[in-house]
């Protein structure tokens, strides 16, 4: 899987690439607007991470260029701006997702995973891991071909883990993912534990192997 990281901040680009390259993602970089234009013209990427604030141009134009060239690359905008009209405009022009800095790499990985799956597998978008089958479109799962009913949040968590296979994800990261902006306002993150406990229970009752491991006391890791 090829990813293009259009980001002028080297440290940020390096971190993203380091995190992603452990999965079978191959990352390429574009530090400037012009470099980015060159790359998208000559190559195809499975997903493009686009910082819309570049020193020599507006990332929105890259998005427009992609659309003009009728490219099917998935695009996730990463921006320091939380401006809603940017978000709406970006999604209208054809971006698949929008992420505001600062974000967790696991959050980014989960979104890249979803975008690529959606782009490439279209109508039959199912993920398999041995006995576990996840239908990303219908948002249902089955174990040994028997459906297991998950709540919205449990399904969301499961997808997050699958998008971050073999990575340690801390409880606070999950809390941020689940409660959005408000995580730090909540005095405890026990609600994360409650959801995970339920998810684990439902999976094991259906006869699924325990792929979800607890590490360091409060961290989690999906093995697969």
């Amino acid at each position: 899987m090829k990813i293009l990281i259009i980001e002028d901040e080297n440290e940020l680009a390096d971190s993203i690439s380091e995190y992603l390259s452990e999965e079978n993602y191959l990352c390429e970089f574009a530090r400037t607007y012009n470099q980015a234009l060159e790359k998208i013209e000559s190559f195809h990427y499975d997903c493009i991470l686009l910082d819309i604030m570049l020193p020599d141009g507006n990332g929105m134009n890259i998005l427009e260029e992609l659309k003009r060239q009728d490219k099917q690359d998935g695009v996730i905008i990463i921006s320091a701006k939380n401006a809603l009209d940017d978000k709406i405009k970006g999604l209208q022009i054809g971006a698949d997702d929008y992420l505001t800095k600062p974000f967790h790499l696991s959050e980014l990985a989960a979104r890249i995973y979803s975008v690529i799956r959606r782009k490439q597998f279209g109508n039959s978008n199912t993920v398999r891991q041995n006995e576990l089958e996840i239908d990303l479109l219908a948002k249902t799962i089955s174990v040994h071909n028997h459906p297991v009913i998950l709540t919205k949040k449990e399904f969301d968590l499961l997808l997050y883990f699958v998008g971050n296979k073999n990575r340690v994800i801390s409880k606070s990261t999950l809390a941020e993912h689940l409660s959005g902006d408000f995580a730090d306002m909540l005095d405890n993150h026990d609600f994360v534990y409650a959801h995970i406990k339920n998810l684990k229970k439902k999976l094991s009752e259906a006869g699924c192997e325990s792929y979800l491991k607890t590490v360091y006391g409060t961290g989690y890791k999906w093995e697969g």
Partner: protein, 431 residues
């Protein structure tokens, strides 16, 4: 404000006092002038009378007896003059004097003033002392007459001042008033400069120019400051993102111990708080800069229900019971994102500052939106909506939640009030 005086009234007062002093001092001056003219003229008159008397008597060429008889008669019928034989030297200098005496002929008991001249005259070779006295206006009467006249002119002056003042204050101060009206209407938040009318009066023109300069400077400082908040927040996003991402990578190291994991987790939590404060500062700056459109029509009832749904698990987590009394399909006009933030912030506060097994009550009707929760003691109302004022000893929270709530209310021209009653905190919003 104490008693305020108009500027022109102030100068009017000074002018009036000055006129009063000048006119008052003019009274004795006029008196001395008039009096001395009086006396000089009378002295002249007396001298003429004396000269004539001397001449006429000599011309008659009377005999001694006739003369003596005439003098007796003279002294009887010519009051005010007196002729007597004298031993005084003929060349004695004339003497003049002023005397106050009762007038025996006047009906009223009055003392009159007389100006007299005594002169030695020669009739038929003999020396006689002639005194001539003429009534002269009394001192008091002169003073009173002058004072009355002066006072009359003083009144004319003051009335004139008042009329002029009224006309001038309208006319002269018109440009000043124009400037003032514009200044009063000026709002720094709107960031639009004022244009003053040109005046052909130097002072006002200078004032307008100085004000223009001041306003432009203020606007630019204000803008810079706002931009600073916005830019600072923006600039912080990237380093925060780098720290966050590096921590995520560190978390994947296989040699990590439980203790190290915990440290990373603590940093993560602090970092999330910093990010939130940063975002909230940005949000505040944007609200203040009117960067949010406010013309959407929103079903507030639905929005509140959605927020409640979002926080359901957190209510359950603290075993809070929710009592709602929400009018169906309550529509308001505003900005959806902001109103969502407003409700979320108030609900989050109601959850966070609640006791275990407490109550959260939400009611929405025409009287307003009420969000209440159980609590032990009243919050300090004075700084409640100020930035970074902590109202509890809980360490989490950005310290900006209520400031944002207040700003959002202001943006929509709603009022928000807080009260504590029967161990319940209540925030009330009037639409």
């Amino acid at each position: 404000m104490g008693r305020m005086n108009k500027l022109l009234n102030k100068s009017l007062k000074s002018f009036t006092i000055y006129a009063l002093i000048v006119l008052a001092t003019s009274v004795p001056a006029y008196y001395y002038l008039v009096d001395s003219i009086w006396l000089r003229e009378l002295d002249e008159h007396n001298e003429i009378v004396a000269d004539r008397t001397e001449n006429e008597l000599n011309k008659l060429e009377l005999t001694v007896t006739e003369l003596n008889q005439s003098i007796v008669l003279w002294n009887k019928i010519q009051p005010g003059t007196n002729l007597q034989k004298t031993t005084l030297d003929k060349n004695r200098k004339d003497s003049t004097y002023t005397v106050l005496r009762k007038n025996p002929y006047a009906a009223h008991e009055d003392i009159d003033r007389f100006r007299g001249l005594s002169r030695v005259i020669e009739i038929n070779g003999e020396a006689y002392l002639l005194t001539v006295e003429t009534n002269v206006e009394e001192t008091e009467e002169t003073v009173v007459a002058i004072a009355i006249l002066t006072f009359f002119f003083f009144v004319i002056l003051v009335v004139g001042f008042l009329i002029l003042n009224r006309r001038l204050s309208v006319k002269l101060w018109q440009p000043f008033k124009n400037t003032l009206t514009r200044l009063k209407a000026f709002n720094l938040n709107s960031q639009t400069s004022i244009t003053f009318e040109n005046s052909n009066i130097l002072e006002f023109q200078e004032l307008n120019e100085a004000l223009n300069k001041l306003i432009e400077h203020t606007i630019s400082v204000y803008k810079t400051q706002k931009e600073f908040t916005e830019n600072a927040s923006h600039e912080l996003q990237t380093p925060l993102a780098i720290i966050k991402n590096k921590l995520d990578i560190l978390l994947q190291k296989e040699t990590l111990t439980d203790r190290q994991y915990q440290i990373i987790e603590d940093i993560n939590k602090a970092l999330t708080r910093v990010s939130r404060i940063n975002k909230n500062l940005l949000l505040l700056a944007k609200i203040e800069n009117h960067q949010f459109d406010g013309s959407e029509i929103i079903n507030l009832s639905e929005l509140i229900e959605q927020c409640l749904e979002q926080f359901k698990e957190h209510f359950a987590n603290k075993k809070l019971s929710i009592q709602t009394e929400i009018e169906k399909d309550f529509f308001i006009t505003g900005n959806k994102i902001l109103i969502d933030i407003l409700i979320s912030n108030l609900l989050l506060n109601a959850i966070r500052h609640n006791s275990q097994n407490g109550i959260v009550r939400i009611s929405l009707s025409k009287t307003g939106l009420f969000i209440s929760n159980s609590g032990m003691k009243a919050l300090e109302t004075e700084n409640l909506f100020k930035r970074f004022k902590k109202h509890s000893d809980q360490s989490s929270g950005s310290g900006l939640g209520l400031a944002i709530v207040e700003q959002i209310c202001k943006r929509h021209q709603w009022t928000i009030a807080y009260e504590f009653h029967q161990e319940t905190h209540t925030f009330k919003i009037n639409f």
